[in-house]
Symmetry: C2
Subunit: 578 residues, 2 copies
């Protein structure tokens, strides 16, 4: 049976199952969500009003046996950036959607009765929309448990906690991973969009799905084998990430002088040793837990983990570099266990670790808390943000808005979205990605750290301007295409260094669909996605003046290299000449 578009109307509380239009056939993941958002959402609409839509779409290879193909994309107009957003996630959702034949799930409108929240249950050829007053005011794990009780452990669940219900801009949308833990559509405040539509949770039924079909299954298997080997043979995706998780980056980036610390005041953190991946792995070895954990089935990198406290009790999983950096280096908490406790709390509430962490780092400048005070950070999240007190509303609105409320100037955001864990002054290629990506400051949009710091795909000196625009452009084009396949971003490492990797990926696409894509086709797909997203943003009112680093980075030198952001506007704007 051919894939279908499932379309839910929250105003009418109705649904339709539609054929996939021809021009959407070859698209998946980000390519599909961005295309649908651009086609159907008025760029000038209020992102929390009735005219915004949420579009969920598995990648083109999701549901197949290809390694690391389990990412699901969510697109919408972002209430945080005011532009188009795609945020992808692991978990079980992409595979189940693909096997159920849901090419995309589009949710539009807002209920007229907004006194309660709804649960949407998607199954083969059917959608149920029911009120769930019993879930209102509950957080993610409660919802997860309720849904597992109602259905089975196999059901895919997407849910928001209290911050999402309150339409806070730091809220995300969480999904169940294969072991019952949570992963998130993290960035851009998309939990607020789900809250605005009064949707507490979405489940996708794993019953009655069928395995995806292959036009040439032998060819697929052969290519898949090569692809998996490329992932396993690469020193980063095959060794560093499995051994230490994403948190392997703390020491590396700190040594490069690019680990933003004390609200982006230095590129080194005195806490690096206490919070680094090596310390983390040692703790896990001593305390039990596991250094490996996949965010979706079929993952061969297993960069996630299970992290226990000193007594061997579970603390958190999906405990990533960005989280540890934001709270450990930028906010200065030198206690990894406490950071893990905050991580688990934020998972349950559904908060974007980067936005919340950077916001608390800035809150030190507003005298709301002190640098390094992890207990107060925990309390602010638990007792203020989660409860929607006035202080909670302030912190829950994200870094940019906190800056506006307190008249702060050193506000590390691009397009109102917090800058992640790589200092743009010291890792300039990454800075170009932050300012130019249509997504707002986002490290995954074009991970120049690879070539600036990790010597993956060659080397471009991170402290110099030369070559950075071209590097970021190439990476962003490739990432947009990869984000359409359902592949995890870390396939970029073998893709950059192993000549067998990308052809194998393309072979898998061709074998799955019986098509004959070339490398150029994939590049053109990436370009088209970026231009579609950029066009949406321009219509939404964003301009080149939004493709800028925070002004203070232009006049404040960052230790230890004492580097400023020194790109001219013209040099940045050159990015879009392709």
């Amino acid at each position: 049976m051919a894939d279908k578009i499932y379309r839910v109307n929250m105003k009418e509380l109705s649904f339709k199952i539609e054929d996939v239009p021809n021009h959407w056939m070859g698209l998946g993941g980000r390519g599909l969500t961005s295309t649908i958002v651009a086609a159907e959402v008025d760029p000038e609409c209020h992102p929390l009003g009735p005219n915004n839509k949420m579009v969920f779409a598995p990648g083109l290879l999701s549901g197949t046996s290809a390694a690391n193909s389990g990412r699901n994309s969510l697109g919408a107009k972002s209430p945080l950036t005011g532009g188009i957003k795609e945020s992808n996630v692991g978990g079980t959702i992409a595979g189940i959607m693909a096997k159920l034949g849901v090419k995309a799930l589009i949710i539009e409108g807002i209920p007229e009765d907004n006194s309660t929240f709804y649960h949407i249950h998607v199954s083969r050829d059917n959608v149920e929309i029911v009120q769930v007053p019993e879930l209102v005011g509950k957080d993610n794990y409660f919802v997860l448990d309720s849904m597992e009780k109602k259905y089975s452990k196999k059901v895919a669940v997407m849910t928001i906690g209290r911050p999402g219900e309150m339409k806070m801009l730091v809220s995300n949308i969480s999904v169940r991973d294969p072991k019952g833990k949570l992963r998130s559509h993290g960035r851009g405040g998309l939990g607020a969009v789900m809250g605005s539509k009064k949707i507490k949770c979405i489940t996708v039924d794993a019953q009655n799905y069928k395995e995806v079909s292959y036009e040439d299954s032998e060819k697929f298997k052969a290519a898949s084998k090569i692809f998996t080997k490329a992932l396993q043979n690469n020193p980063i995706s095959g060794e560093g990430l499995p051994a230490f998780g994403t948190n392997v980056l703390v020491n590396i980036v700190n040594e490069a002088g690019g680990l933003p610390s004390r609200n982006f005041r230095t590129g080194n953190s005195e806490n690096a040793e206490a919070i680094c991946g090596e310390t983390m792995a040692e703790n896990i070895k001593e305390r039990g837990g596991s250094t490996t954990h996949g965010c979706h089935s079929g993952c061969v990198i297993q960069c996630s983990q299970t992290y226990n406290d000193k007594d061997g009790n579970y603390l958190s999983s999906g405990f990533e570099y960005e989280m540890i950096w934001a709270f450990g280096a930028n906010l200065g908490i030198n206690d990894l266990d406490l950071i893990a406790k905050i991580d688990a709390l934020m998972d349950d509430l559904g908060l974007d670790a980067i936005e919340m962490g950077v916001c608390l780092g800035l809150a030190v400048d507003a005298s709301i808390l002190k640098f390094g005070d992890g207990k107060e950070a925990y309390r602010l999240i638990k007792d203020e943000v989660a409860k929607g007190t006035p202080m909670g509303r302030i912190l829950g609105s994200g870094t940019g808005n906190l800056g506006k409320l307190y008249g702060l100037v050193r506000v590390p955001v691009v397009k109102n979205q917090s800058i992640p864990a790589y200092e743009p002054r010291a890792i300039k290629g990454q800075g170009i990605t932050y300012v130019t990506t249509p997504m707002g400051a986002d490290h995954t949009a074009g991970y120049a750290v690879a070539t600036n710091i990790l010597n993956s795909g060659g080397f471009v000196d991170p402290l110099k301007k030369d070559g950075q625009v071209e590097l970021s452009r190439n990476l962003q084009i490739a990432s947009a295409a990869i984000d359409s396949t359902g592949m995890c971003i870390f396939v970029a490492f073998p893709a950059l260094d192993d000549p067998a990797c990308l052809p194998a990926l393309i072979d898998m696409l061709n074998a799955r669909f019986g098509i004959s894509l070339t490398g150029d086709d994939v590049t053109n797909l990436g370009k088209t996605i970026l231009k579609t997203e950029r066009a949406f943003n321009l219509k939404a009112g964003l301009t080149s003046a939004d493709d800028r680093i925070p002004e203070f980075m232009k006049y404040e030198a960052l230790p230890p290299h004492n580097v400023k952001w020194d790109f001219t506007n013209e040099e940045i704007d050159e990015f879009w000449n392709f």
Copy 2:
């Protein structure tokens, strides 16, 4: 002696007195502030950072004996709108600046030691910059008293209260009026810019000034007489405004169904009778006080007043329509005395009545207070905003930011600035002004109410789209020019209806400076100012997508006429084709 530019550098705590460049010679007021801001301020700078500037400039006719010529302009990049701002005010400042030969006062930079605040004293050929720790944390009347004690009652004073010190976006800059009361550079959050530069107050010394000179004083006197007569003979500026103040508008606009009420939910208020100008005038007659009061010397309209309580004790002055509408109709307080008490409090604190009032109206939607609860509104301002509590920071950030923090969709702002007291759906010409003016929603930028409602300058049906763009364009061009002369906006009424008025105004300019301006020159000046401001905004990142009414007004019909905002984007964007 020729006029000079006084330039103060707050980083160096130094000043320079510069000759006026030739191309600024013919400019004053808004024409001069917008030209200087556009020339000297990086449109992409952080408005509260070191690269924004404040530019104060009296109008071209300020300091002369021309009636109603005492308006002073302040220009800067606005932290509220993100665009260029000009806000003008009465009081004594314009006249004193002009007589002292200060063509413009430019303030740039931020002190390196930001632990305290400064007082800038401008006198002939000198500027003193001194720390005033004793004024920190004090409000406007305290500052006024201190300065009057230090100098004389004649000294011009510009000051910020605690909200300005805290860089709140609802904060304004207040100036002393001839009777020792306060007027304000009200809109755009310019108090926050002054706060960011750590300036508590600015005084301009009235000693050693000299009367302005006239190239042809006889011609000036003759023209001035005609001009004054035009003001006095006009039914609005000569009768309605002197009798009932600006508050005469409550009944008129309410009857037209265009008085925004209950956070812009209807165009009628049940409180109109309780708060209207007629009730106010009756109270004044019964209780003492005065129905007439000029905001600057030389005013022949005297639309302000002194308003007492039931026991004859002074409550407020400068008690205007916008204030009374925002708290009386939009927030629903039906007690005029309580509104006057709030007005006096806000004068002392230095808060923009429109931004603060509309923000509190929206706060009802966020369940922060109840519709009509004036006591709570008073408390929120006095105990939260003034003290900078978390709730105070929220409300002090203005309507747009409140909306973002609470995920609200019915947010009445354009370019993040609150919409004033005329419903754009029911008074469509005024709506066109709100969306197109580079200033953010602002009624004075092109007062189409005149022709939509008051039959001044003809009649254009307020409920229909026809002719509104042209009407607003013509009014905005004229207003930009008038704002450069130092004239009060209410000269627009005779200017629209009395054929002798505008020629007399032009004759005064020619007689003062020995030039030979024509009506076309004045029109071209207005056009140039608008285009300069628009160009700044485009470079700052604003686009046509910011020239839009809040989306809810496009799908929500406004009673009693059940009208929506029905302009297409193309119709709006036509505005700039001149």
